[in-house]
Symmetry: C2
Subunit: 277 residues, 2 copies
């Protein structure tokens, strides 16, 4: 099976994919951006896509939510939760004291703010499109530069790990969505994701939506607002709940929400991620 992911090789997405989801016969296909991965699923170029959807520190990955809401018919068919560990990577022979420039994706840089302030406070911070791209740049760069990136990127680009686990917060985890086109059958340990579009500014609308779930004892695992991309103050809401669309109460609750608001988009029902060990 072909599985699209955010490349180049060495990204956190690839690491999460290789360590949790793929089988030996699968082929991981790198794409240049998250929208490209989702489009590849829509076009049928790959059977599956894996995209970061939420990080325990940074919050939602906006581009993923927005493409799923506005530009795609892909369904969420599974989820993977993977711990994020940041490492400081440099060419062999460089030591921490030599480093005067740090290159990384701005989110990774932000997640290591305290480490950088403590150990590399004078260093120049340069942005890259991904941590893997940063590692790629560092491996051929003649200067005293380091990248923030994955262990797998260190292996791929032949870099030394100058410092490991440099992230400010422990429990830095990312939830990835596995995308496809179908709705997997109910397993009894499932989650359902919907998007509620509320275009008129009716006070209390979110309250009324939440009541439909509370009334049926459906536990919501996430309520997240995103702009409706129309004007400030208009929002759409991503709601994740326990249960499967084949569960009668889930189906009923969503039908009652559909009656109340402008539009509900069903993003999928899928097995909840089970933590290994």
């Amino acid at each position: 099976m072909k599985i699209g992911y955010l490349g180049p090789p060495g990204t956190f997405t690839e690491e999460a994919l290789l360590r949790t989801y793929t089988f030996p016969q699968d082929e991981a296909v790198p794409y240049a951006s998250i929208p490209d991965v989702i489009e590849a699923v829509d076009r049928g170029e790959v059977e599956r896509g894996i995209v970061a959807i939420e990080n325990s520190i940074e919050g939602s990955v906006n581009v993923t939510l927005d493409v799923l809401a506005f530009d795609s018919e892909a369904k969420v068919i599974g989820e993977v939760i993977y711990p994020i560990r940041h490492n400081l990577l440099a060419r062999s022979g460089l030591a921490l004291v030599d480093i005067d420039t740090v290159i990384s994706q701005p989110h990774a840089t932000a997640q290591c703010r305290k480490y950088l302030a403590a150990h590399l406070s004078g260093a120049k911070i340069i942005a890259a499109n991904s941590t893997a791209e940063a590692a790629q740049i560092v491996c051929t760069h003649p200067g005293n530069v380091a990248a923030i990136g994955t262990r797998i990127a260190a292996e791929i680009y032949g870099l030394e790990i100058l410092a490991e686990n440099i992230e400010d917060f422990q429990d830095n985890q990312t939830r990835f969505a596995i995308l496809g086109k179908e709705v997997p059958p109910r397993t009894g340990f499932d989650k359902t994701s919907i998007i509620c579009f509320i275009y008129q500014d009716r006070p209390g609308m979110l309250l009324q939506i939440l009541q439909e779930f509370a009334y049926r004892y459906i536990n919501l695992t996430k309520v997240e607002s995103r702009p409706a991309k129309r004007s400030l103050g208009e929002y759409i809401f991503f709601i994740d709940m326990e249960g499967h669309i084949q569960d009668k109460v889930v189906d009923e609750a969503i039908k009652c929400v559909v009656c109340k608001i402008d539009r509900v988009k069903f993003l999928g029902s899928y097995p909840r991620f089970k933590v290994a060990k």
Copy 2:
């Protein structure tokens, strides 16, 4: 009065500040990052700070929310809403067909995705820390590069505007928070911002918070979840409402929320932004 903002000169924040908030006697002081602006307010190095808090397309500016929630005692004392217009900037003499590389802050690049796909589909996309930094790079870069940035950056760095208003969505507006240390008096056209910390996973807790406001006919202008930075599935909620903490119903509602949850942080009461013209 000294007002801190995200530099270098030519950022959207500077443009919004100069066009809406400053008086001739004020001094705008550039800082390298949003956390630096907020810290400068906390330390009293500047009397005011201006930071982007929310964009109508991209959503909340996570770093602003996180620093206000976890690392600062600064208060929101005002707000400014300013339209964002993206422009393609290049050295004089270059035409659109010449451009093979586009440099910008990744959010700006994301906001011009459709324009770039239509007009510069083969171009390499390079990340910068801000649109102003991108303009700064482009003005001395020997290659066929363009930046996505402000009109003010074109003036500062002597660049030509190859294309204007290239953003994908109209109504691209950013709301900026003005930070200080005091609570401005009630004007009768105010907003109040709080942060609700809910550490235990108690189903329906958000519903119960929202009910306190609905019961008192207080209109919420924003409900936004952010990770609690502890583990996936734990959230804090930013709530903006109409009214001032000196309004009896607002004060009462917040006191009732305080009784129900782990912690409520009062971010400020301030005059709502009045759109000019």
